[in-house]
């Protein structure tokens, strides 16, 4: 594989760097700086009081915990779904493929309402789950389930193109050489899709952290128990406390920025390892 010195042979570095920064600057960095300025209006004590209250901590715990759970579920099943869609032919495959994106198209409020209807005690699922002693609607579990729905397309859609481009002959070769399906998967397929999988996981997780519209319906919004961070932000806005809202937003932003950066560095590391392997 190529070294970074050879890569510079490729043209377009300046153009793409300029375009990317301009695009980022206009759409992301300028608006975000407004957020930072707004939260500077707060004194340090007020800032701390806002972001470190027990109630805020309960909300962080729920938001990060449920998002992580949802992203993990999506990573496992998303990879499976992508694999099945790319490598197997079965009746109705095209339909299934077509429907994977729909959680995006459905307005989040509608998604929230629909899921709440399904999981509430009279709902299609709720009825049976409740008989098993499992309450979903208006509990943290319901939040995680809604977030799984919201983030479902990410992993499938990031892994899918990579799998489409992965030549099945490589797997066939491995099999011919006597590898078991599991060995072929773990040694050949998995390392290849790992960057995409991580990418999808990150996206699903990040998206789940910020989700508001669908969650307020299924969570029940009970203080300390089922309040998500975006709800606390809305609560602040409802008191015309823009500075307090931006303070909470800033905490979420810095945390998810750190998480995303870690994953991206991790991914670069795994890619280097992959590239440095012989063969």
């Amino acid at each position: 594989m190529s070294t970074s010195a050879r890569r510079r042979i490729l043209p377009g570095f300046g153009l793409s760097l300029g375009m990317t920064w301009a695009w980022l600057g206009l759409l992301v960095i300028v608006p975000l700086s407004g957020l930072v300025f707004q939260s500077l209006n707060l004194s340090w004590e007020r800032f701390w009081e806002t972001v470190a209250s027990p109630r805020a901590f309960a909300a962080y715990r729920l938001s990060f915990g449920a998002s992580l759970a949802a992203a993990l579920i999506n990573a496992v099943f998303g990879l499976l779904v992508a694999w099945v869609l790319v490598r197997y032919r079965f009746p109705g495959r095209a339909w299934v493929d077509a429907l994977v994106d729909l959680p995006f198209a459905l307005p989040t409020a509608v998604a929230g309402l629909t899921l709440t209807t399904l999981y509430a005690s009279h709902g299609v699922y709720g009825r049976y789950l409740e008989a098993l002693g499992l309450k979903v609607a208006f509990t943290p579990l319901g939040v995680a389930i809604a977030l799984t729905f919201i983030g479902l397309p990410f992993v499938v859609r990031t892994v899918q193109p990579v799998l489409e481009d992965l030549d099945p002959e490589v797997e066939e070769a491995a099999t011919t050489l006597g590898a078991t399906p599991w060995q072929t998967f773990s040694r050949v397929v998995f390392p290849h899709v790992l960057p995409a999988l991580l990418s999808g996981f990150t996206l699903a997780f990040a998206r789940a952290l910020g989700e508001y519209g669908s969650i307020v319906f299924i969570s029940g919004n009970m203080p300390m128990r089922t309040e998500i961070v975006p709800l606390l932000i809305v609560t602040r806005l409802e008191q015309y406390d823009y500075a307090g809202a931006t303070a909470l937003a800033l905490v979420m932003l810095v945390t998810s920025f750190t998480l995303l950066l870690t994953v991206n560095l991790l991914q670069r590391w795994s890619q280097r390892r992959l590239e440095s392997r012989p063969g």
């Binding site: 153009l15 806002t50 009279h122 029940g220 919004n221 203080p223 409802e238």
Partner: protein, 342 residues
């Protein structure tokens, strides 16, 4: 052309396209008014706008279009503060209109005295909706604090309507013989112990109660309760009026700065005044709001049971005080709900 120039050009073109699309299509002949309102008033203003447009055209010979915007009361007020050019606002609580003055100086501080009746041309109150036949025998506020009664009300932190519910309960407890701030706090805190879900908006709560079958009693505005029992869920629910409740006064106001800028002050003022006319009052009554006019009220007397009503000024010294003491961060509601969750 060098490809290097193509992309910026494309971007420019598309941005040009979008700013053009932003222009409004108003022509010289028709006057447009923008009424920024809260959620449940849609049907009311649909009828009223048509009636007023007819009245305006007949008296002034000019065509009028009234545009409507509906949403949560606080959110709507914020939009106006941030630049939505409403000529008039018709919101759920006076505090939100106060903020138009405090945060953006869009109208004078004495806005509420410019129109009769505290600038609230129609009123409502807080009542209970129970399942048909009232199986839990809910009669008054005290029944909502009984063990085993599940109460549905939206989150007072996010819903303006819910704040009226909360204050109605608090005011009731204060007015009970021997009622004090402490006994009221204990009463409301016990009531909220019976609340399993806090929806973010009033209509969310209604759905939770009516469609999901959660709860034994829904605390709601009377106009919402009547809409629910008369139109949405006929034969499934009963309304119970408590002995004492709060007089909910959803205020209307001219947004001076916007109206002056757009040159719509005269028609906007006439629009709001028309709400107090017989026709305006009749439309309000038809949409289950209590009219201010005695004659119109007499005509609809059977729709609105007699309830002893107290005002927010009497019980709490006005919205600003109530908001600060009860709903702002660290206020009464936060304190007991956090304590309960522990």
């Amino acid at each position: 052309m060098h490809p290097r120039h193509v992309l910026p050009l494309l971007l420019l073109l598309s941005l040009g396209g979008c700013s053009k699309a932003g222009g409004d299509g108003s022509n010289g002949e028709t006057v447009t008014l923008l009424n920024v309102s809260y959620d449940p008033t849609r049907e009311l203003y649909e009828d009223f706008n048509a009636a007023f447009a007819k009245h305006w055209e007949a008296s002034q010979g000019r065509k009028l279009t009234v545009q409507q915007s509906h949403g949560g009361s606080g959110k709507q007020a914020r939009a106006v503060i941030d630049g939505l050019e409403a000529d008039v606002v018709t919101l759920a609580l006076a505090y939100d209109v106060d903020m138009l003055h405090d945060k953006a100086n869009l109208l004078p501080t004495d806005w509420q005295t410019r129109l009769p009746n505290n600038s609230a041309p129609y009123t409502s109150t807080i009542v209970f909706v129970v399942r048909k036949g009232n199986p839990k025998n809910i009669r008054d506020w005290d029944d909502l604090t009984r063990d085993g009664v599940s109460v549905i009300t939206p989150n007072p932190k996010t819903s303006g309507g819910a704040r009226w519910n909360y204050l109605a309960a608090w005011g009731y407890a204060l007015r009970k013989p021997g009622g004090t701030e402490d006994s009221a706090r204990a009463f409301v805190s016990r009531l909220f112990k019976n609340v399993p879900v806090l929806d973010s908006g009033a209509r969310g709560s209604t759905t939770t109660f009516a469609e999901r079958g959660l709860g034994d009693v829904l605390i709601a505005w009377e106009n919402e309760a009547l809409l629910l029992t008369h139109e949405v869920g006929k034969e499934r629910f009963d309304i119970v009026a408590p002995s004492v409740s709060i007089l909910a006064e959803p205020p209307v106001a001219l947004v001076d700065r916007n109206a002056d800028k757009r040159g719509t002050r005269a028609v906007a003022e006439a629009y709001l005044r028309y709400l107090y006319s017989d026709e305006g009052q009749e439309i309000a009554a038809r949409h289950h709001y209590r009219p201010r006019s005695q004659t119109v009220a007499a005509k609809h007397a059977q729709d609105f049971p007699a309830v002893t009503l107290f005002t927010i000024d009497e019980a709490f010294g006005g919205w600003r005080k109530a908001q600060k003491a009860h709903f702002d961060d660290g206020g009464e509601f936060d304190r007991f709900s956090v304590a309960q969750a522990r």
